[in-house]
């Protein structure tokens, strides 16, 4: 059996409608493995309503911790830390250097330069990744508790687990809800996928962010297609987006109108694609089918 078809839903601009589209796709592919790779602010579970089956601690990168009593205030750590994570604090004996955990990158360079061994790298539990199941199949997701750095590692764990489950259970699709932006977590969410679907909105911010995201995915070399959400909000920008997509060889798979009905349904936690006759839901249905068709062709070639 070949590799499963992996489809990632991404957007440059936040709030364009990734999660709603990803959930619709999931509903259109019963039996697929679903992965919520927006590990910072995961929302898929609010629509899929999964049952948790197993939870696994995620430690992420370590955090440096300074023993103030051993610190001789030589300043070597302060000078070598490139992340501004070393600062001065008051201690009973006067002052000491200390590590600001929120800024600590976890690189360990301070421990390398400290002549007094006053700094140790400690494991910090950053959250958990979970294997759950929802009505139509397995669902992998995660949440962070703190230490919100280098979350691309967590995304790669989720991708790996989704692939393992797909391989073990013979599942043909993996649907990935990706994070917004163009950073490392987005790269981790789209690397190696059969198709990246970019959701955009017709706003000046939306088209700005779209251009940057398309450049990124084309740099990585991922097959891409696009969907315009709330297209009737601004027909001028919609046209500009359509032109941009055409010039850059990105197929437009559909446009969804600005829909209070869809908003209401999502607000009520419903995955709407199967039911509903309003044009937004119909558009979603058509788009989901086109995405699956395109991704299947991509896997074959």
């Amino acid at each position: 059996m070949g590799k499963p078809t992996e489809i990632a839903v991404i957007s440059g601009k936040g709030g364009a409608g990734k999660t709603v589209l990803a959930a619709s796709l999931a509903k259109s592919t019963p039996g697929s493995v679903v992965a919520d790779c927006d590990v910072d602010t995961p929302n898929m579970h609010l629509l899929l309503k999964p049952n948790l089956m197993s939870e696994h601690a995620f430690f992420g990168e370590k955090t440096a911790v300074m023993d103030g009593e051993l610190c001789t205030r030589c300043g070597d750590c302060f000078r070598t830390c490139r992340f501004g994570a070393i600062r001065e604090i008051d201690i009973p004996a006067g002052w000491s250097y200390s590590v600001d955990a929120l800024s600590c990158e976890g690189c360990g360079v301070c421990t390398m330069v400290c002549p007094e061994d006053a700094i140790l790298m400690k494991d910090a539990r950053a959250g958990a990744w979970c294997v759950s199941s929802w009505d139509l199949g397995p669902f992998v997701h995660a949440h962070l508790t703190s230490a919100r750095k280098n979350t691309e590692t967590l995304v790669r764990i989720l991708r790996r687990e989704a692939s393992k489950i797909a391989g073990r259970e013979g599942r043909r699709h993996i649907i990935i809800d990706g994070p917004a932006g163009i950073g490392a977590t987005v790269v981790a969410a789209v690397e190696g996928v059969s198709l990246a679907v970019v959701v955009t909105e017709p706003t000046v911010s939306g088209i700005n962010d779209l251009r940057r995201l398309i450049r990124l995915v084309q740099q990585i070399g991922i097959r891409t297609a696009a969907v315009i959400n709330k297209y009737d909000l601004n027909t001028e920008v919609t046209l500009a987006i359509e032109e941009y997509l055409s010039i850059n060889g990105v197929p437009l798979l559909g446009k969804i109108c600005f829909s209070t009905e869809l908003n209401r349904a999502v607000g009520a936690g419903e995955v709407v694609v199967n039911a509903g006759d309003d044009s937004a839901t119909q558009a979603l249905r058509g788009i989901s089918n086109r995405i699956l068709g395109l991704a299947a062709r991509e896997v074959q070639t």
Binding site: G12, K13, G14, G15, A16, T19, D40, T41, N43, L46, E61, K62, T80, R82, F83, G84, L102, S103, E105, G106, C107, G108, V109, M112, L144, S146, R148, K149, N150, T151, E152, P179, A180, G181, I182, G183, A184, T185, V187, E201, P202, T203, V204, S205, G206, N208, D209, R212, R215, L216, Q219, K230, L233, N234, V237, F258, N263, V266, G267, G269
Partner: protein, 292 residues
Amino acid sequence: MSTSRIVIASGKGGSGKTTVATALVMTLMREMPEVQLVDCDVEGPDAALFLKPEIESSTPLTIDFPEIAASQCSGCGDCQSVCQFGGVSVVSGVAEHYSDLCHACGGCSLACHAGAITEKKKRIGVIESGRRENVVFHRGVLDVGRHMVTPIIRGLKSIARGDLPTILDSGPGTVSPVIATIKDCDYCILVTEPSPFGLYDLRIAVRLAGEIGVPTGIVINKDEAWSSNIEQYASEMDIPIILRIPFRREIASLCSRGIPLTEVASSWDEAFWDMYARVERTIWESRPRSPL
């Protein structure tokens, strides 16, 4: 004159951070001699689309990345052992560098005793500065394909003036770049939408603001019937709701064109000024701040 630093953040992307940040700046520019806007959403900086400043300078930001001289490499693997990110690996007896995973910490070059690793400055983005009338504007733009975001934010904060009332427009979510943006600010305005997604993400953002130790207030954008979920949460957490912007298609449509909210109706100027006055009161009632 106030030199407060007010950051606009949110858990949920697309809640309206830039809408609120730019509207606030445009209100303040009418009332104050000078005001500063720093766009820290370096992956997707959009504030200039609304403020429309004239960009006067554009400076590439470079950081040191390792460069491995294969001929000097002994294949000892010390670099690989110290790297926490998988950025360096010994393959067939020679160390190789993977810039996608590299965090540019300097660890591998420190660890190398063979002198095989030097450092070379590489561009990760650009810091731009400009003006619109009495608004000083700075933004950072990440180069597409680069992933080191926090150094750009720190660079932005180091060039921002410390003598002006400052509004910072953060990126979405609660990851490192957002932490770097919110740190050392005097107040964090959290913009939310009333959907279940909005509330879920708001909780995460509130927790982060609490960890950083900055006072917060909530702005409900796209406010409508089901906002009671946000109201209930805000009440439980004792966080004030400092502004409400209704869900109106007309507002969405104007935003889509890059028209700031305060140009829609003068009543928005008043609403933002009242919000600002409330924020300032809270800041002055709170603890003293550390340097930018």
